[in-house]
């Protein structure tokens, strides 16, 4: 286990490095970065001065070396949009809001999809199953922003349900639901299909013949074996949410988290901020990946981590 862990950690480091380097290269490609920082009316001397102070006039290799050196100190430069505040600090300021959203959303997804999947699996082909399947399919086919818009419309316009201003939790719930819906769609389908397979298998029939109560069969035996595909997908959904889809949900609901920050940074060409964001996101993704693998091992002792 220890050896596996260190191997995965190493791979994780490679990923983080790879992503950061990629972003570095890509952001340097666009010609003169100074043009984006200074207003168009700036004089040539001001540009030269800025260029020199930020190090953009040095050859790429030396820039890269400096970048790596700074990165190891967790210094990603100063954000140009946020008035020279340290980029990493800015990112860490916006991070909690996104974490709130992702945790809430994924919890909802977890809590909703398991019972839904099980209910659907218990009577496959009947009306309840068909309803669940239809809703799930729509949930995973609809673009996330569309779901968000519909929810936004329904809650604020039609029903005036929630005032998006006050209360710490009230305005978390609908963005969280929006984030959760496609995940619920996919997860429910997986739970359902895994449960159908399990419920048709030999050992379940044996248990039923023995007279074990249905609730115990479903809850204990079948669930354990359905866990692996579910965990895989769940982990993947968390990563999807973290790495990307919070962007959309935050854009629709004006949620001030990392996603909104990323969109802002990209629109404003704030490279240092972009680099810091990418770094943090990459680390989170790697972390979640490793956590999933460890969970595998905990759930199913047969799994050999290779």
């Amino acid at each position: 286990m220890g050896r596996y862990l260190s191997q995965r950690l190493f791979q994780g480091i490679v990923v983080v490095v790879g992503v950061t380097v990629l972003v570095f290269v890509v952001t340097r490609l666009i010609g003169d970065p100074v043009n984006f920082i200074l207003p168009l009316s700036a004089s040539e001397e001001q540009r030269a001065e800025l260029r020199q102070s930020l190090g953009f006039d040095r050859p790429i290799i030396s820039q890269f070396v400096t970048f790596v050196g700074d990165a190891l100190h967790l210094d990603f430069g100063n954000s140009t949009y946020f008035r020279n505040e340290d980029a990493l600090d800015v990112v860490l300021r916006f991070l909690p809001k996104t974490l709130q959203l992702v945790v809430a959303g994924m919890t909802i997804a977890l809590i909703a999809s398991i019972p839904l999947g099980i209910i659907a699996a218990l009577r496959p082909g009947k009306l309840l199953d068909k309803c669940v399947v239809t809703l799930s399919l729509i949930g995973l086919a609809a673009p996330q922003f569309f779901i968000g818009e519909v929810i936004l419309l329904l809650t604020s316009v039609k029903f005036h349900l929630v005032d998006f201003g006050d209360g710490p939790w009230t305005h978390l719930i609908f963005p969280a639901i929006t984030l959760a819906l496609p995940a619920i769609g996919r997860l429910t389908m997986v739970v359902r299909s895994a449960m159908i397979d399990e419920l048709n298998s030999q050992y379940v029939r044996a248990a039923k013949a023995k007279g074990v109560r249905r609730r115990r069969i479903v809850g204990v035996h079948a669930m354990r074996n359905s866990a692996i595909p579910f965990v895989t997908l769940f982990g993947w959904e968390v990563i999807r949410a973290l790495a990307g889809f919070t962007l959309v949900v935050e854009a629709v609901f004006n949620w001030p988290g990392l996603g909104s920050l990323a969109i802002l940074a990209i629109k404003e060409r704030d490279f240092f901020l972009i680099q810091a964001i990418v770094f943090v996101v990459a680390i989170m993704v790697v972390f979640v990946n490793i956590a999933i693998d460890i969970t595998y091992k905990l759930i199913d002792p047969r799994v050999k981590l290779a």
Partner: protein, 341 residues
């Protein structure tokens, strides 16, 4: 005198003779074409008809495809044909006229026409991305699987690393740098999406490599490239087609999301995502401008997903048997869960 006409005999020998005659008759009719191929041709449509969601989806997608491809001929107006005087006309069910069935947007452009042209662009992007990403991924996967050893390890390491990249974020950054255009969109989406083809191809190649016919081909002296493309590749077609169709759906959603965030194509160029984005501006007063493209995207993706799961059931004999065993009437819905995961 024994009666030589088999049909007049009622005993077992006669029946057997009739079957043989029919078989010979069919054989001559089909003139030596492999039996599997005709069965495939006949059977495919029969299978499609048998499966309701699959059939509906196929029909729907055919309509969409025709509307998209022939948009310049079929659309009632051009995509940017209009002016402020015709703006904000409501759709037919809300008091509008039949000349603008789905109404017009804030610049006065007809929504239905934009929908058709938009579908055209979106589908074009999706096809292009699937083609580019698929080509790259399949070739890489075949090389990795066939060569094995160090090549395999390094290539898969690359795949693993790139799979762990935060996709949407990288896409956004690259588009921001490259500038939002059709080509940068295709490039970025392909860049993010080739890995799944590589992994799948490698898996199939690894298992196909051990088969006797591959060994025979190598012994006879076929060059590796020939072995790969002529002998191993046909094994892939069924899983590849299903995968490609699923990726197609995913790309449509990705393009919509990118355009929605303002980083895909730009107004007044039109794609389904751009329409959704421009619908944001008057969202609370004119929600239909955002809802209509959203519904369109959802329906298309839904149909593609159904088609993909039908394909999966049809091309995989194991899945087909599962359908009968589990007693679930709609196999596509059951298989869609696998497909979606």
């Amino acid at each position: 005198m024994t009666d030589l006409h088999p049909s007049s005999r009622t005993d077992e020998y006669g029946a057997r003779q009739q079957e043989v005659d029919e078989a010979i008759f069919e054989e001559e009719m089909l003139e030596g074409r492999p039996y599997e191929m005709q069965a495939a041709g006949k059977g495919l449509f029969a299978e499609l008809r048998a499966d309701r969601p699959g059939l509906l989806s196929a029909v729907f997608l055919a309509i969409v495809l025709i509307a998209a491809v022939f948009a310049p001929l079929l659309a009632p107006y051009g995509p940017v044909e209009g002016n402020p005087s015709t703006s904000n006309i409501p759709p037919v069910w809300d008091g509008g006229t039949w000349s603008h069935v789905l109404g017009t947007d804030m610049q006065g452009y007809d929504v239905l026409s934009r929908l058709m042209y938009g579908a055209r662009t979106t589908l074009l992007v999706a096809f292009a991305v699937v083609f580019v990403a698929g080509l790259f991924g399949i070739i890489l996967g075949m090389i990795a699987g066939y060569k094995g050893g160090r090549t395999d390890r390094y290539l898969m390491r690359w795949v693993d690393v790139q799979v762990a990249f935060p996709g949407l974020l990288i896409a956004l950054i690259m588009i921001a740098v490259l500038g939002p255009s059709l080509w940068s969109l295709i490039f970025v989406l392909a860049f993010n999406g080739w890995m799944v083809y590589a992994r799948m191809t490698r898996g199939v190649v690894l298992s196909a490599k051990e088969r006797p016919y591959v060994e025979a081909a190598e012994v006879v002296g076929c060059k590796p490239r020939r072995v790969m493309f002529l002998h191993i590749l046909p094994n892939l077609t069924s899983s590849l087609v299903t995968l490609a169709v699923l990726e197609f759906a995913r790309i449509i959603l990705a393009e919509a999301t990118l355009s929605f965030l303002g980083l895909g194509l730009q107004y007044p160029d039109v794609s389904l995502g751009v329409m959704a984005n421009s619908g944001r501006d008057a969202f609370f007063s004119l929600p239909r401008l955002a809802i209509i493209p959203g519904v369109a995207i959802t329906l298309i993706v839904l149909a593609v997903n159904f088609l993909a799961s039908w394909l999966r059931v049809v091309t995989d004999p194991q899945e087909r048997e599962k359908r009968h065993a589990a007693g679930v009437r709609s196999s596509t819905a059951a298989a869609a869960s696998q497909a979606a995961s």
